[in-house]
Symmetry: C2
Subunit: 103 residues, 2 copies
DNA sequence: CGACTAGTTCGACGTTGATCGTACTACGAT
DNA sequence: ATCGTAGTACGATCAACGTCGAACTAGTCG
């Protein structure tokens, strides 16, 4: 089995506008919430979403490039995790605030 | 002189996706930052923005309808203020986190 | 190897959204 | 009442985005 990490921005490259724009999309917010409930990460396909696989891939890429999540390959699966620490350092309280909203 | 408030969503009507989407636009984020620096409110036209008056009006409306700011008329000027308390109640930490980002 | 599975990439399509100019409204001052 | 100022509403335009299906890549298991 192979394990590899996908390219993502460094902490200092993360921009607020990009993060907010990424989070301001219902499906992506749903993904972030799913990830928040799974601290150890979750496989893309295991998140229930009302979109096709290709759209899901698109959203995950957007979130990763915005710096919201990390993805690494484990065999044929791609495990995504929230970049909690980076986000908390850059924008303390932001994630908490967002997740506090009732679904 | 006349004073009147413009229609805006009640606190319980505010939706996270809408707020995040509103904040995820550079010009609007700039407006929010200007408002954060002026707790007593600020007249629309006094915010320096790289867009025309009509575009500015559009963004202010978007932010107001999202529940991010309040606007009330004072004579011919429209004074906008951040809805800090409502946002803090709904999404504690969100605003702080966003404003913590260096410009 | 070949078949299967997980996921991505690409191109197309339709919708949304940011922007502008122009026309309009509302208020205050003269 | 008339003029000037602050700001909004409308319609048009163009770019960005979410969505999909189909083709592709990469890994696992027989």
């Amino acid at each position: 089995m192979t394990t590899r990490a996908l390219p993502q921005p460094d902490r200092e490259e993360i921009r607020v506008e990009t993060v907010l724009q990424a989070l301001g999309e219902p499906v992506r917010l749903q993904i972030v919430r799913a990830l928040a409930d799974a601290p150890e990460g979750i496989a893309c396909g295991d998140i229930e979403l009302p979109v096709t696989a290709s759209t899901r891939a698109h959203h995950l890429r957007t979130l990763r490039e915005a710096g919201v999540l990390s993805t690494h390959t484990e065999g044929t699966r791609r495990i995504s995790t929230l970049r909690r620490e980076d986000l908390e350092t850059l924008y303390p309280g932001l994630l908490t605030g967002i997740l506090a909203a009732q679904r």
